[in-house]
Symmetry: C2
Subunit: 560 residues, 2 copies
């Protein structure tokens, strides 16, 4: 169940992440040549859960799922688009931020997962800019409050109408006793580089900042008189489009609906299956059953059926489904089945077509999906067994885990070939983690030469004992020990405090440098999660619960 | 009061941070030429609060206060010491870590403040090594568990006896459902650079790791047979001493007891006063009343009375006193009184003697005290008024605040000279924050040229309007507006959620890069603070509360 305390609308019992523009209730996506417009026009009655209305373009997870879908579709279905205009369909309001009654009535787990997904969506906007040169301009005609301004902060250029009332604000602290936790504080200091004392003033001023001061404080990029808004927006869109390297003549591919069948124990997709039992979720990824296409054109013709794209989309959906709908799951176990050489063939195919827009988009999608895995608060385990295909891109799944077990040799009475890891070029930089390092560089912080040592073994099978010697897996075990060792480990893991594990893994997974992105998930999110537990915010007399009740919050005045 | 839920021992009502070796109950400090030995031999009955005994060299805040004092004393009183040996006075145990019953019975505020202070103490050990070339060798003869191993992690060299039972461990997660939160996880990944999956195994293995594996996994630097321990320790101490640049012939100064008088509203020190009223603490720092001494020898002769050292020690004590004993305080307001030129004269004196060990130690102490200010979870405010002396080192106090207000001109009927800021060389690198940047560089992240622009105005008075134009203060106000503006701000601040402010300030103060040190206070501590709220740890059926009761914890199995 998605959220024990709340009933979902429309008789649903799980959060579904798949959608498409024909089903959007909150966004309108229009494409006009190089420019796409994403119009936020939230349907008040279209909430994901019962008990609140999405007034004033406020949002819940359902609204953000549509936004994430729209950005992905622009990247894949409309490669000629160079600029996204983010606008509001409501008068006098851009976006009021996350819906407060939704937050006030949510479980702690839902709050945390909601923020994580919305953070990933905003990072996705920035990735569209950095990886695809797809620029976003935010046009604020009205108020952009809280999460509304945080959405603006994720774009490349913020325009604010200068009409004496339109303003940007982060009123979370004064109004609700929580943080602007969807990247807001980190983007204010680290992206917009607002001076820290002005940021303090801004974040404690309920009504926010407008007009020229908003530019002077670096909160927006420009203010524009209402009379000149449309002309200036057109001009900016043209300027950004002119600087973009997106392909002019590419034909997009259709992101067809995912093929998923719910089963008694989980779900089957076309490239993987999920089985949930005894608080363990096993994701078995299947390698390709055909060689890569002969040409980039043939890849485009395969479209969403092209194996790497299909798997990335299905894996993303599976991970999100587990995160939000299977809260009781202690660990996600990755297995794979297939021919490692076939997986490598697809990596090579994408490498040799890396100048092609679709190959680039697929690699960027894999990067985001793997980051989503890194940030999933479940123990991540790889079981690398005979017949598996943890090669190249799929080997990243093993490197994303907290622990990996690899079986030495074969199993008695089993004719599957011994497990082999295969490293390819993609394991050495194509898929950076949020700390900016590759998973192997993060793994071998102590001695970068260990990365080089692994690299010399690229493009050939690495058996279990060699993988252990290279430090690529945690344990290499033979058939005799395997079952017991793995069982004891998984039982032990399920016996630990889920919260303790969440904190432990959030620390051990991200050694080395921090980036703005990793700071959002570490410094900002961890503090926000703390605040989401504090009685001053979420208690009966706390600000989040009393908001709109006419009663002032009653704070414990002790500083911690 | 220090801690509402617990009674302090010995009839005390406040946590006192001042001590000296003659009063230590838990540590024995002996100095033998270049080598000092800090023997941890915790007095079970010497707890700070009632309700627990400090068995097996476990510690509470009182134990750590002595350790912090000892490190400072070695730096100032024994400048010839080049190596500190950290050893245990107990058989078969090095240190069992933070006392669990103490933690289980502490308020959330005390847990958080306890961890913050112990973190600062361990950072102090690393600072002794980095800034003073005073190296620390940890000799583990027995078990070093949890906080015991975290203490070892803060040293330069960890020696573990190879006797089949001595081990290092971080059993917090499996035993207590909390994190090794005193830097443990971050130092494992970022200092020792233990491979993340091995770190996962280590942190979930209650009994820890011993012998050769502890070296292979990078958890310790060497294992030594018991029979060779003393000889090897002596040899290592000599090796480290030989590489140290600490002065061979320097004569230390005595860190005399602080002069502090408690008053009805706070406390008076020789260089500052503290007044607490209406949830606001005002610290008024007084400039020197005499010019700096004529020579380095004269500075040594003044010893602890030398103004910059006296002020640093008194300020440190005042901040800690407010942190632990005045939890209800919303804001700390920094004021100053004195002649800015005199403050600058002391900065110049220390600059011109920067090769002298005592000048170096004083600068390093100021760096640590200013970091302690940065990390204090109270709103920090500077009120820069006529007659103030926010110059050089004291200007850093203003730059450490969340907001600063500077009065333009003079007050009616007041003959004090108009407020002036003075920048000196120390404002441009001598006192880095934990993010590695100077406070001015952190302030001007958007445009490093603003730092240069400020630097060209060094060594001359900067009045309020110029300071505002340079971005050095938040607001310049004239006498007419001052009282109302400041009052409204302080009232507003006191009306906000203290927790929300803690999270907000922890984010806005530390823009830009993260370091291992800042990661400890952000990623690790923020997660630990979250866990310190979770029922799985601190609830009636949680692991921390049930530890030692014979009952297993009962966990909510939902992952957040």
């Amino acid at each position: 169940m998605a959220d024990a305390e709340r009933k979902m609308t429309g008789g649903r019992t799980r959060v579904e992440f798949e959608t498409d523009p024909s089903r959007y209730r909150h966004w309108k996506l229009t494409v006009d040549g190089e420019v796409a417009t994403l119009l936020m026009d939230v349907d008040e009655k279209g909430s994901l859960f019962e008990g609140y209305e999405l007034k004033l373009n406020s949002y819940d997870l359902g609204v953000d799922i549509e936004l994430a879908d729209a950005i992905d579709r622009i990247r894949f279905e409309h490669p000629q688009v160079r600029v996204i205009l983010l606008r509001s369909g409501k008068p006098r309001v851009f976006c009021a931020g996350a819906n407060i009654r939704m937050l006030a009535g949510s479980t702690h787990a839902h709050k945390v997962n909601f923020c994580k997904f919305t953070n990933e969506t905003r990072n996705g906007l920035e990735d569209a800019s950095a990886a695809s040169d797809l620029k976003t301009i935010c046009v604020i005609n009205g108020t952009a409050a809280g999460g509304g301004y945080e959405l603006a902060l994720a774009t490349d250029h913020i325009m604010l109408v200068d009409d004496g009332s339109s303003a940007v604000s982060l009123p979370e602290l004064p109004l609700l006793a929580v943080l602007p936790g969807t990247g807001g504080l980190t983007r204010v200091t680290d992206k917009r580089k607002v001076r820290r004392d002005l940021a303090d003033v801004f974040c404690t001023t309920e009504e926010g900042v407008k007009g020229k001061r908003a530019v002077e404080w670096r909160l927006v990029d420009e203010v524009v008189p209402g009379s000149k808004l449309d002309a200036t927006v057109t001009q900016r869109a043209q300027e950004f489009a002119a600087r973009s390297r997106r392909p002019a003549d590419a034909k997009g591919i259709k992101l067809a609906p995912l093929k998923r069948t719910r089963t008694a124990s989980g779900a089957d997709y076309s490239t993987l299956s999920v089985a949930v039992a005894a608080r363990l979720a096993t994701i078995t990824v299947r390698g390709p059953d055909a060689p890569p296409p002969a040409s980039a054109d043939a890849m485009v013709a395969q479209g969403a059926q092209f194996w790497p794209l299909r798997l990335a989309r299905e894996l993303d959906n599976a991970i999100l489904d587990l995160r939000l709908n299977e809260l009781d799951t202690a660990a996600i176990i990755f297995k794979s089945a297939g021919d490692p050489e076939q997986v490598v063939a697809y990596d090579r195919f994408l490498d040799s077509n890396q100048a092609h827009w679709l190959a680039r988009e697929i690699r960027a999608l894999w990067k985001r999906v793997l980051k989503r895995v890194d940030l999933t608060s479940r123990t991540l385990v790889a079981l690398i067994e005979p017949g598996s295909c943890f090669a190249g891109t799929l080997a990243e799944l093993a490197f994303a885990t907290d622990r990996s077990y690899m079986l030495i040799g074969t199993r008695e009475g089993d004719n599957k070939p011994p497990a082999a890891l295969v490293l390819t070029d993609v394991n050495f930089g194509a898929y950076p983690m949020s700390n900016s390092l590759s998973r192997l560089a993060s793994r071998f912080l102590a001695n970068p030469a260990d990365v080089d040592r692994a690299e010399t073994e690229s493009n050939k099978p690495i058996d279990a004992e060699q993988a252990a010697a290279l430090g690529l897996v945690t344990f290499a075990l033979d058939d005799i020990d395997w079952d017991d060792e793995v069982r004891v480990f998984l039982e032990e893991r399920a016996s630990f405090s889920p919260d303790g594990l969440t904190g432990l893994e959030a620390n051990l997974r991200f050694g080395g440098p921090e980036t703005m992105e990793s700071k959002i998930f570490a410094r900002l999110t961890a503090w926000q999660n703390w605040i989401f537990q504090r009685p001053n915010a979420v208690g009966e007399e706390g600000a989040l619960r009393r908001y709109g009740s006419g009663q002032k919050p009653n704070y414990d005045t002790k500083r911690v």
